[in-house]
């Protein structure tokens, strides 16, 4: 099978400052992939190199099997057959929605009603005569997407296209765009710094860090089985506790749990560092035999759920760290700071062999 996008050992520096340092990435055809990384990690540069707006210093890029960039050749952007949806949509202000969509379409196909079909696909049927300033932010993004799809691209690039929308609109536009791209069967690459966006939207998430792909996988895989604690914290809140290996399982103060060992389990009795997500913790009545107890120090209510922080009675973090445990509870449960509770973990946890340090246990991340 041909890959939708293949990037191999890509290098790019601005002066002495390397932005892409040997980045490699393979995106399966027809899938939605998110490039996730903080500012300055090089994700926008990666997108601009793929689009052909910038030239790589070294490395290879192939779109749908066609090499568009390597040491010798640099295909200009207009010959790469990709759709590009920039931040803020960037519709041509002097053209109507229909003219925007038809910008890259040859005249014969425009006559055949391609533009109307695309406007309908993005739910904008009948709005072709409007100018961009007459459209809402979400509508502009839909038109921008239709414009990108109009050239029948082998790959659609989305550069943080939802960040300029207001939060209430963002989730729904994002879901719609994802659905439209899936229906069109297009390979798409989304650049974002928002982990919720990456996890909820994409089939695959590639985490970019210091100019390389740090980890690539499904959202579920990355969240449940991150390569290391730094990535674990980047993707969501994390409790880190000390454990002792016991075959496939790991013994912790929160109970003995099935473990997913990174790099294989250590021998029985070996020390371990264990990742427990807040939603893997449950509160129980204190006083049950062997259950870790502690005091509720903080309670934040979010409606759909709530988050409590618990100071454990005995330190349970790696290296004797005594950081509070973060617990996610259903919104219906009302907790009082100062009350006492027991805490247990449920489900499979990610574990690493080793003693760990108190700093690793710190939940501020």
């Amino acid at each position: 099978m041909i890959s939708g996008l293949e990037v191999d050992d890509l290098h790019k520096s601005y002066g002495a400052h390397p932005v892409l340092a040997g980045l490699s990435l393979t995106v399966p055809e027809g899938s939605l992939t998110a490039i996730l990384g903080p500012s300055g990690s090089g994700k926008t540069t990666l997108l601009r190199v793929i689009a052909g707006f910038e030239r790589a210093d070294r490395g290879r890029v192939a779109i749908a099997g066609t090499v568009v960039e390597d040491g010798q050749c640099h295909l200009p952007p207009e010959d790469r057959h990709l759709g590009y949806v920039p931040q803020e949509g960037a519709l041509f202000p002097h053209l109507t929605a229909a003219k925007n969509v038809g910008f890259g379409v040859p005249r014969a196909r425009r006559r055949a009603g391609v533009v109307e079909g695309l406007l309908e696909l993005v739910g904008m049927a009948g709005m072709g005569r409007r100018y961009p300033h007459q459209l809402s932010g979400g509508q502009q993004q839909r038109v921008a997407l239709a414009r990108a799809l109009a050239v029948e691209p082998g790959l659609v690039l989305l550069d943080e296209p939802f960040s300029s929308l207001d939060p209430t609109l963002r989730a729904s536009v994002r879901a719609d765009v994802g659905a439209i791209l899936r229906r069109a069967g297009t390979t798409a690459l989304l650049v974002t710094h928002d982990q919720d966006e990456a996890l909820s939207w994409a089939d695959h998430v590639a985490v970019i860090d210091e100019g390389r792909i740090g980890q690539f996988g499904t959202p579920q895989g990355l969240y449940a089985r991150p390569g290391d604690l730094t990535l674990a914290r980047f993707l969501g809140e994390a409790n880190v506790v000390a454990g002792v290996a016991d075959g496939d399982r790991v013994r912790t103060d929160l109970g003995t749990l099935p473990a997913d060992w990174a790099g294989g389990p250590p021998g029985a009795g070996g020390a371990a560092v264990v990742l427990v997500r807040p939603e893997q913790l449950a509160l129980v009545e204190p006083g049950t035999d062997g259950v870790l107890t502690g005091e509720i120090t903080e309670y934040q209510y979010f409606g759909h759920d709530a988050v409590a922080r618990i100071r454990p009675d005995r330190p349970c973090g790696p290296g004797g760290g005594a950081d509070p445990l973060v617990v996610r509870v259903p919104g219906g449960i009302v907790l009082r700071p100062g009350a006492r509770t027991g805490v247990v973990a449920v489900g499979k946890v990610r574990a690493w062999a080793g003693e760990g340090t108190a700093e690793q246990g710190s939940t501020s991340g």
Partner: protein, 541 residues
């Protein structure tokens, strides 16, 4: 696999552009060669007059140029020109700044009307102001006569940028100053003027440059400067080496003035933190000062606007049917003027396009040098540009283009190129580069994107550039007199011919048409420039 510390810097909600993005503009795909060739060609044409002067000096050798430069006449002209420039610039600085302050920051009665009336003179050619005074008060002349007339003719060049800067300045700074215990007058001096300092300096540079290049007004008033002397040597005495020698000194003076503007910009900027406040400054109360201030505005408007307009109207009504120039003559002169000016507008705008795109989209040392060198034209008076083109055509091109409309159009385009560049550059800078990238990614070539995306986006800027050059060319006198094609007549040359014969009533209709064409649109454009960034507006004249 170990992820670096980069991930630990938790992403903020509104991610700032990555550091890489700062370098993006500079490192975008390489410069298209066509653009570069175009920009270099424009710069070469612009620098032709300067190059010709240098060539002339080198050609004749120092032994013949030296005595022409260092003679008693040069010293006299230097004193007369510089002393007048200093006095008029100082007067304009005070008059323009005060007028701007009273209109923008006080409760002056009728502010809006005054704001219009004090700006309109910018559209009246300086020689028309001089004509008004001379034809009504025949005795005016000499140093103080010239100083008075020129101050009244050019003070809007200070008023416009200062008013814009006061309007856009943050009133919070003045309030902060007062709250820190600084009095009202001290606050005006230290904060209000501090905010407008760059605008005042920019306006003064423009005033000084105008004074160096003015011909018509001084000729009417009988005041001799470098420019009038160069004109006389070239047109009456046909003494090319003498004219070139004086031109060298004049260009050096112009470059000195222009460098003053660059130096002033280096020292700090009038800046504000945060977004542009929608808040309007609380106007200062004039109190009992309102009577002298309103009186002052009355005198200013009567002398700067009333006298030239009144004189034209007066002579129009004094015209009897027997002395009235044929309407056909006025129409034909107007047609020539419009055609030449439109040609210059098109040429200058077309030339500004590659320079502006190069400097905005592909910044770098070369782009900067090309852009800066095109602003050097500001320091070269029209008389020198006309002189250089005339002699260059005669000496090196066997009279190619000499006394054709083409040479006049090219000279206009060169003289007013900086105006076109400011307008085009501002509009290119405001057109988002992202749109061009989207266009490219949709399968359009660079040229197609230029035609279908960039040009429509910057069309208002192109139109403004055309209008600016057109309006300046309509009222241009010096180069027109020197380069006018044989047998052709423009409004300016006809006006001049009759004025020189003291046939004021015959000159008046031509002046009236010129003022009508130039004054009203100039005012509209002036408002348009108010909305440009201060640095761009400072170069605009």
């Amino acid at each position: 696999m170990q992820l670096g510390r980069g991930l630990l810097t938790a992403p903020a909600a509104g991610e700032a552009p990555a550091p890489a993005a700062a370098g993006v503009a500079a490192r975008r795909a390489r410069r298209p060669p066509g653009l570069l060739v175009g920009a270099v060609a424009v710069a070469v044409v612009l620098l032709l007059p300067l190059a010709f002067l240098a060539l002339e000096a080198v050609d004749d050798g120092w032994s013949s140029v030296g005595p022409l430069v260092f003679r008693h006449l040069t010293g006299t002209l230097l004193w007369d020109t510089v002393s007048l420039a200093v006095v008029v610039t100082a007067c304009c600085a005070v008059l323009g700044t005060l007028a701007a302050y009273f209109v923008e920051r006080t409760d002056l009665p009728g502010r809006r009307a005054w704001a219009v009336l004090v700006v309109v003179p910018v559209g009246i050619p300086d020689f028309a102001v001089a004509f008004g005074w001379k034809s009504l008060f025949g005795g005016i002349g000499g140093f103080w006569g010239a100083a008075l007339v020129m101050t009244l003719a050019v003070y809007p060049l200070v008023y416009l940028p200062v008013a814009a800067s006061l309007r856009n300045a943050d009133p919070g700074q003045e309030e902060a100053s007062r709250s820190l215990g600084v009095g009202r007058l001290a606050t005006f001096w230290r904060v209000t003027l501090g905010q407008a300092r760059l605008a005042v300096l920019g306006g003064c540079v423009l005033v000084a440059l105008v004074l160096l290049s003015e011909y018509g007004a001084f000729e009417i008033l009988g005041y001799r400067t470098f420019t009038t002397e160069i004109f006389t040597e070239a047109q009456v005495g046909f003494d090319a080496p003498a004219a070139c020698g004086l031109s060298l000194v004049l260009v050096v003076l112009g470059l000195l003035v222009l460098s003053g503007e660059g130096a002033s910009r280096g020292r700090g900027r009038a800046s504000r933190t945060g977004p542009m406040a929608a808040r309007v400054a609380q106007p200062h109360r004039l109190g009992r000062a309102v009577v002298p201030v309103v009186g002052g505005f009355g005198v200013l408007v009567v002398t700067a606007l009333g006298v030239p307009v009144g004189a034209i109207v007066y002579w129009l009504f004094r015209t009897t049917t027997s002395t009235l120039p044929a309407a056909a003559s006025v129409a034909s002169a107007a047609a020539h003027t419009a055609a030449y000016s439109a040609g210059a507008g098109l040429l200058a705008t077309a030339g500004a396009l590659p320079v502006a795109i190069l400097s905005v989209r592909h910044p770098g040392r070369l782009a900067m040098v090309l852009e800066r060198s095109s602003y050097l034209v500001l320091a070269v008076p029209g008389v020198v540009i006309a002189l250089a083109f005339t002699y260059a055509s005669e000496r090196y091109a066997a009279g190619f283009l000499y006394q054709t409309a083409w040479l006049l159009i090219v000279a206009y385009a060169v003289m007013f190129f900086p105006l076109a560049l400011v307008a085009v550059r501002a509009s290119v800078a405001r057109a988002p580069v992202g749109l061009e990238e989207v266009g490219r990614s949709l399968g359009r070539s660079r040229l197609a994107v230029l035609r279908q995306v960039t040009l429509p986006l910057i069309a208002p800027g192109l139109a403004a550039a055309f209008c600016l050059v057109f309006l300046e060319a309509v009222t241009e006198l010096t180069a027109t007199l020197m380069l006018i094609p044989t047998n052709a007549e423009t409004l300016a040359t006809q006006f001049w011919a009759f004025e020189s014969n003291i046939s004021y009533h015959q000159a008046a209709p031509y002046a009236a048409v010129m003022v009508a064409i130039a004054a009203v649109p100039s005012y509209v454009l002036g408002r348009w420039f108010d909305r440009l960034p201060a640095s761009a507006g400072a170069v605009a004249r």
